[in-house]
């Protein structure tokens, strides 16, 4: 029940295309869903996050879509650029207690020029 399942494991997209990464969770107590971006040799960095009281959040070319009833959320990268090539992790946590995050297994995105 604590798992967050992420897919696909890897993704290749042409420059200008849309990249879509999906995550699913089981624990309905989760109330914070961030996405992290990691470049080679660096630590993960917060990209965008959503709470379950909204169905979508957009920041620039990055959008989180959230489906509470299906217990799924996804990251959409519009107009994908070679600079977006990185590993993306979804996560889920509960906003109480120790705030521990449960991470997905990651998606390696490559955007072709």
């Amino acid at each position: 029940q604590q798992q967050v399942k992420q897919s696909p494991q890897s993704l290749i997209v042409q420059k200008g295309g849309i990249s879509i990464i999906n995550c699913a969770y089981e624990n309905t107590a989760f109330d914070y869903f961030p996405w992290y971006q990691q470049f080679p040799g660096k630590g993960p960095a917060l990209l965008i996050a959503i709470r379950p009281d909204v169905s979508e959040k957009k920041e620039g070319r990055f959008t989180i879509s959230f489906n509470k009833s299906a217990k799924q959320f996804s990251l959409h990268i519009m107009d994908s650029q070679p600079g977006d090539s990185a590993t993306y992790f979804c996560a889920a946590s509960v906003s109480s207690g120790t705030y521990k995050y449960i991470f997905g297994t990651g998606t390696r995105l490559k955007v072709l020029a």
Partner: protein
């Protein structure tokens, strides 16, 4: 990686030797975490701390111990390193205030156990 420093950044050691990784923060955040990152497994929690001398186990804590004697420092110790502990280790910090969930990671420590 502002406000959080990991050391060493790279280490090669031999099976059976003790290893200590250090995480230092200047943000005065309450929560500190140690994760390991392995291909196909993502980020897995080893141990975490919710205050000075207050620590608890994560999902992959076997073979690891931690200590936090000061707010700013969180140490991860491998008492007797094994090849299965070859990994990239990340420290993370978190404010702990209500609604302030943001987890900030360090740059990582790459450990190779021969």
């Amino acid at each position: 990686d502002a406000g959080i420093t990991q050391s060493p950044r790279h280490k090669v050691t031999e099976t059976g030797t003790p290893v200590t990784l250090r995480c230092h923060q200047t943000e005065n955040h309450r929560y500190m975490y140690w994760y390991r990152q392995d291909p196909g497994h993502g980020l897995r929690l080893i141990h975490y701390s919710y205050g000075v001398k207050d620590t608890d186990k994560g999902e992959v804590s076997d073979g690891y111990s931690v200590s936090r004697s000061k707010t700013e420092d969180f140490l991860l110790t491998l008492e007797s390193a094994t090849s299965s502990q070859t990994s990239v280790y990340f420290c993370a910090i978190q404010p702990g205030d209500s609604g302030a969930n943001v987890l900030t990671f360090g740059a990582g420590s790459r450990l190779t156990v021969l």
